[in-house]
Symmetry: C2
Subunit: 261 residues, 2 copies
């Protein structure tokens, strides 16, 4: 199933949409957070009529597969930017709530970069990612094509690198093009960098995820790097950078999550 199909939304009224949280985009029965955000952002984008620039989602409950509803409220629609909130509901329960601003980048103008794309072995020479957790390979890994940096996959063998970092390539299965909405998935599709910290390899539930879309990706797989810089008092950060095949930064993400137990 293509990502575009898996995140399709159907308008049922002013700012109201039906959609399906499809099985196979989950980890252990809980829909991937980036996938869930992508469904909601598609509904928001359809309502606003402009692409997302910055999206924040707060995760309220685990998301089982099944029907869902999205209700979008336009807060302000200006000349350059428009802002909306939305809530995705499953079985009548608010599961993900979002606030986002929509608009276009304005190419050109001054440019400064403090760092360049993350260095990775070539995509073609990299192995597909093993499952992050013990047990059968998640179905999700058949829908996306993640190829981890070999230095960052040791946690799988009980040999975490000691640095809370994961780097690797991200693509959709079948070379499906990656748009601004698919960046939401890319921002939350890798195993958590905390798995390389030496802490228990277990679910680190996202409380909040913010995704800044910094450009429209060129065709081809994305270079991704995620790290957790501060883990303490039951919470951790996770910040990500995503670069396209042309060497442009296309996405920055950051989340606050609960420390795995």
């Amino acid at each position: 199933m293509h990502f575009a199909t898996a995140t399709a939304v159907h308008p049922v009224g002013e700012g109201r949409f039906d959609a399906t949280v499809h099985p196979g985009w989950d980890i252990g029965g809980n829909a991937n957070g980036g996938y869930l955000m992508a469904i909601a952002v598609r509904a928001m984008t359809d309502t606003i009529g402009r692409p997302p620039l910055t999206v924040t989602g707060h995760y309220l409950r685990p998301a089982p597969a099944g029907e869902c509803e999205i209700e979008v409220t336009t807060i302000r629609s200006g000349r350059r930017l428009a802002t909306a909130s939305a809530t995705l509901t499953i079985d009548g329960k608010a599961t993900l709530t979002l606030l986002a601003t929509f608009g276009e980048q304005t190419p050109g103008g001054p440019s400064r970069q403090m760092s360049g794309p993350v260095d990775l072995p070539p995509f073609e020479e990299s192995a597909a990612a093993p499952s992050a957790l013990k047990g059968p390979r998640p179905e999700l890994m058949n829908r996306i094509d993640i190829r981890m940096h070999p230095e960052d996959s040791g946690f799988r063998r009980g040999a975490p690198s000691g640095t809370a970092q994961v780097r690797g390539w991200f693509a959709l299965a079948g070379e499906e093009p990656i748009d601004a909405i698919a960046l939401m998935l890319a921002a939350d599709a890798f195993p958590p960098p905390v798995f390389n910290s030496g802490l228990p390899v277990a679910w680190a539930p996202t409380v909040e995820l913010t995704v800044h879309v910094r450009g429209v990706p060129a065709r081809g797989p994305l270079r991704c790097a995620f790290r957790s810089r501060f883990i303490h008092d039951g919470l951790l950060d996770e910040e990500g950078e995503i670069w396209d095949s042309a060497g442009a930064l296309v996405c920055q993400s950051r989340q606050l999550a609960l420390t795995p137990r």
Copy 2:
């Protein structure tokens, strides 16, 4: 005027508050973004009854001084966390809209840090910050006590450092204690790091600001560091770290802003 007084809110109904955007907390007539966020977060905190953990605000319009209203909607109130949205309205116009999750850190448990507090000359030996922009010293600089790293204030003399970074101390005037709500102000009180990039020193309007509260600050001034890593296509990021006098990370911030023209 104390920060606590300047951000006071008055309940006028279920989740509804009146407040005042006070003059003197602005830059050129537009209320400081962190100050405005603090007013709204105080209303949200009063409604939820727990301190903020992660707050995202989207800035919709400049905020002149005067009366304002805040309307808070509780989205979910769980055992550990509660999530709410709010909109701050001035003259009937939505000016700042927010999404936030509330709860407590859980001290103890595993801890990992990729870096330590930013290195600064001692607070007592540092000079109070000059105004960031040309013209008279903003009244705001009498209410907060910012002491910039000497290497980062050159933009004021037309000699930007070339690195889009600002570091320095933050305190409230009169040694007023800094709580989780005052961290919203600290997260947006410094001159934008883009001023040191060599780009024009002019207003960089915040589109989105997210503040993660990572701890309750110990008494004393805060060590702060902000930088813009990626400036392109009319937008820039700005990420911040704030450390307390005991050496604990108490806040992480990130914003997306429009590039100054």
